[in-house]
Each structure stands twice: as structure tokens, then as C-alpha cells.
Symmetry: C2
């Protein structure tokens, strides 16, 4: 029998699991609930149980399992230790050792955003590139950086936490992180709504955005319909994000930016607004970086987690 | 005989050369002129000649040479190919292959700022750390980033070009790179003079800085003497650089920043001004990064170049 591996993406409510062959083809995909009770102490045993059950179900021998990769919502260091994962109830936890003891299998662990970046490199929007910055524009702005095919973990597992780089000196409101003027305050779905509400309060111009609740989706739908106010909001979004990504490029000089998350569902128009402001701010050596949409959606995590053990 | 290696740091006027043992002790150190005539075509043959001559002089056999590492002032990709080095007259040049053909020895090449960062990690201000950002505050602002003990080269060799990340939206003057508001325009020796001259033009306050030509050195000397205007200039410098380094930390999450170059000769007071503004802007996971002074000075390049082949 040819070898297989498991990719596990631990979220606050659901654990996504995937069984892959060595080429990265999904053989099976399922979910189990995340039991955050008792400080999250059930989570790793539940994962171990699910892995064992799948092995039994499919008659997979231990020697044919290359390993189990796990992505979790928190900073994970290079040794597979998470230092805190608030959503799971975890403090410091040696994921690699604990899950290896529970399963007898080789385990690797990483931060979920970093692992998703690895997934997009392997099988998604970044295929063919080894130096990649993945940007997830969801409720917040997440990031994952791949250097020479490897996750940039950093000293404390906070590598690629690009949502909190400073892009605005005049911000009065605090970011969730406690600082002011973080990229996340303007380029996330939440940030776009904030930009929109400010713009609507400051202008009397007619716009479809006054006709209901504003979201990142309604803003970009209005942009596509030619709504002038919506286009001005998109320009602001593009300037903050383009400028922020230019700074990131000045540091890591990527081949490609892969843009994912809810906001990216608006399509390539999002990339156009980013590129418009990236180019004038970026250092020449990174001017030719490619911008692409993420393609794996919510599966990026299980793909990247599987890749961790290959 | 125990093994040795060569470290070569190619500058615009002088090539610094070092002979090292495998533990990184300098056995010999010398310089040859950089002959930039004929599009720099003499440079690599001159280096090969100098290496061979030293091997003869010290009766070193080829099999005892681990290799020759070379740092050059231009973007060098992961294969040892430089894409342009204006100061040397070079266009695209495969340094690794050319010098290997000339010497019959193993050769590795890197960008000089990146290589100097590797030197500071190995034997300088960053000893004991594997995730490091080196910042050189000279005529410009140079940078080198070490991730997991390896140089972050980037897609086109422009990794760590941190002098050109954007930190000021209101700048009217262009940076040497053509953009506006680059970190280099405020945090380099030249940038500090510019900040000082602006301040002196805008205030009528008494300051020793009016008593002669202003330089980064006279500014920090005046700061140490308690000069109020000089201290205000140092605050501006610290805010630009601290904020810029906070953005960099948000991307690569280093253990340590190693600050070198002429401006750093003012000592730890420079670090104090940087840290004051780094802390409020940086993401929590990188808040405990250490700030240290570079210790190898102009020798960082030959140390790092030697380390390239080890």
C-alpha cells in the first residue's frame, strides 16, 4: 500500500481533517467538533481518536502513515509547541510530543495562518513558487510567509503576523491587539466596513451603500456596479493594503502574494486595487511580485498541515 | 592540517579578504584594490589570484580549503548570481560558477548586507541567536535578515532591503531609490543630517548644533551633552526607525535586532531611542526582541562570507 498522511486544521468550533496521498490528493475529508471544555484538554485526544478510527476504517497500517500535520489558531514555535491559543483554551502545550504520544505517529504542528500559506503554495494559488506571502482578509488580516519552501515561524511563532503592522499614524481607535493604526483596522472585512461608514458619514453623495447594511461584499459589489462612493472606499482599502504589502516585500522580497479570505471573494478587482498602491511604494527589486487569488478556501489548512509532515 | 576557508567582502574601492579556521578564528586578513575597469571584469580574477597566492604563501593544499565565500554590493540570488552591482560595473554575473572555475574551490556568494548580518550572528552582536535582523545605519540604511540561521535571500536577492520600506506619507523629496518616504531618508547618517537641518531651520532655540557642520555624530554628541534641540532630533530618528523595525518584526518576528554602521558608534543611547518607539508600535509576540550593537564593524562582511561556505 502506498503511503498517506493526515492534515488537521483546528478551529474554534470545528476540526477539519483530511487524508492525503503523498502527491497531495485528498482521499478523504471530514470534520469533528472542537471540544474546548476543560481548557481544551479533549482536543488532541479527539484528534488522535479520529486518526486511529480512519486508519481502522480504511485498513491503513501505521508504517504507511507518513505523519500527522496540525494547524492551530495560536503562535507555534519551531519545536511544535503552542504558546497560547485563546480560542481553544490552551496555554503552553507541546502539540507535537502530546499527539505523538497519543498516536505513535510522526507529528508536526504550525500556526493555522502559516500552515494555510503552505497549503496555497503546495496546491493552491501559489503553486510553482517557493517565496510566498499569503494574506487572509477575513474578520482580521492574517498572514503566512513561506521562505524557500519553508514556513517563516519566527522567534516566538509570531512570524507573518502582518495584520498588526502599523500603517496609519492618525488612528484614534484601538486595534484588537491594543495598538493603533494596524493594517487589520483598514484591510479586513471589518476594516472595510469601518472605512465605508466613515465615508458615508462624511459625504452626502448618492450611493447604493446607503440602501442596507454595509459589508465588504456590498462595497465591492457596488464598485463593480460603478458606484463612485464605493470606489473611493476601495481606493482607501487598496492604499492601506498596497502600502503594507510593499513594506512586507521590502523585508522578504516574495515572488508572489496570494490573497484569500472573505474579502477576496470579490475577485481580481481586489488585486487591482492592491497593486495600484503596491507599485509606487515598493522597492524596485520586489516590483515584479505577482498577485494571485487563493484557491483552496477553507481547505488550505488541511493541505498545508499535510504538507508539514512531507 | 586542519581545514580553512576564505571570506571575501567586495567593496567599491577595496576588497577585504580573510582566512579563517573552521571555528571562525581569523588567521590572516588583508586587502586588495577593487579594479572596476572594463566593467569590473578584473574583480573575480583578482580575488582568485589573491586566494591562490595566500594558499601558496601558507602552503595550504586545495583539499584543506572548505571554500570561498563572497559578499558583493548588489542583489544576489540563491544560486550565487548577482543581478546588478552598479558600483562594480557588473550586470548579471554568476559569481559562484565564475569563481569556482577560476579557483577550483567551492564558492558561495551573497549580498554584502545580508552576509554582514550572517557575520554578526556568527561572531558579533548576535551570537547565540538564529533569527536576527541586522540594521546598518550608514550613508544609507542597509539590512540583512537571518531566519533559522540562514540568510533570507528573497525572490530576486532583495530580501532585507529594509532601507526602502515606507514610513512617511508627507515626504516631498525623493529617496535615491526613486520612492518617497523611505526609512533611509530619516534613519541613515544622511537622514539624520536632513532631520537636523529641518529642525534648525524651524526653531530659534539655542543649540550647539549651530556651531559647525551637522553630522549624525555631532547630533548624538549633543544629545549626550543634554542639548534639547539635538534630543528632539534624536526622538524623530527613533520614532521613524522604531516604527520601521516594528513593521519588520511583524513580518519576521526576530529574536534580536543588531544595529551597526556609523550612526551606531554613538553607542547604546541609539538603541534607547529606537526601543522607545519600537515597543508601542510592535505586535505583542515580538515585543521582547533584544536590541544590541553590532561588534564586528567593517569585518562583519569577511566573517559572514566565510560562514557562507561552512
Amino acid at each position: 500500500m502506498s503511503k498517506v498522511c493526515f492534515g488537521v486544521d483546528v478551529g474554534g468550533t470545528t476540526i477539519k481533517m483530511g487524508l492525503f496521498d503523498m502527491e497531495g490528493t485528498v482521499l478523504d475529508k471530514w470534520e469533528i467538533p472542537t471540544r474546548t471544555v476543560e481548557k481544551g484538554s479533549k482536543i488532541l485526544p479527539d484528534i488522535a481518536e479520529a486518526v486511529k478510527h480512519k486508519m481502522q476504517e480504511r485498513s491503513i497500517e501505521k508504517e504507511n502513515v507518513e505523519g500527522v500535520g496540525v494547524g492551530v489558531p495560536g503562535p507555534v514555535d519551531a519545536d511544535g509547541v503552542v504558546h497560547v491559543a485563546v480560542n481553544l483554551g490552551w496555554g503552553v502545550l507541546d502539540i507535537k510530543k502530546t499527539l505523538e504520544d497519543l498516536t505513535g505517529l510522526h507529528v508536526e504542528a504550525g500556526n493555522d495562518a502559516n500552515v494555510a500559506a503552505l497549503g496555497e503554495m503546495w496546491k493552491g494559488g501559489g503553486v510553482g513558487h517557493k517565496n510566498l506571502v499569503a494574506v487572509t482578509l477575513g474578520t482580521g488580516v492574517g498572514g503566512g510567509i513561506i521562505v524557500n519552501g519553508q514556513i517563516l515561524t519566527g522567534a516566538t511563532g509570531a512570524g507573518g503576523e502582518i495584520g498588526h503592522i502599523h500603517v496609519e499614524d492618525t488612528e484614534a481607535d484601538c486595534c484588537n491587539c491594543g495598538n493603533k493604526g494596524c493594517l487589520e483596522q483598514y484591510a479586513s472585512a471589518t476594516g472595510i466596513v469601518k472605512l465605508a461608514n466613515k465615508k458615508l458619514a462624511a459625504t452626502t453623495e448618492t450611493t447604493v451603500l446607503r440602501d442596507g447594511e454595509v459589508s465588504a461584499k456590498t462595497v465591492f459589489d457596488a464598485v463593480k456596479a460603478g458606484d463612485k462612493v464605493a470606489m473611493e472606499i476601495a481606493e482607501q482599502f487598496g492604499e492601506y493594503l498596497g502600502k503594507g504589502l510593499a513594506s512586507i516585500a521590502g523585508v522578504v522580497n516574495p515572488e508572489i502574494f496570494v490573497i484569500g479570505g472573505g474579502v477576496s471573494k470579490a475577485g481580481t478587482i481586489v488585486l487591482d486595487y492592491i497593486k495600484k498602491y503596491y507599485t509606487p511604494y515598493v522597492f524596485q527589486g520586489s516590483r515584479d511580485a505577482i498577485f494571485a487569488l487563493a484557491t483552496l478556501g477553507n481547505d488550505a489548512g488541511i493541505y498545508g498541515a499535510a504538507k508539514l509532515v512531507l
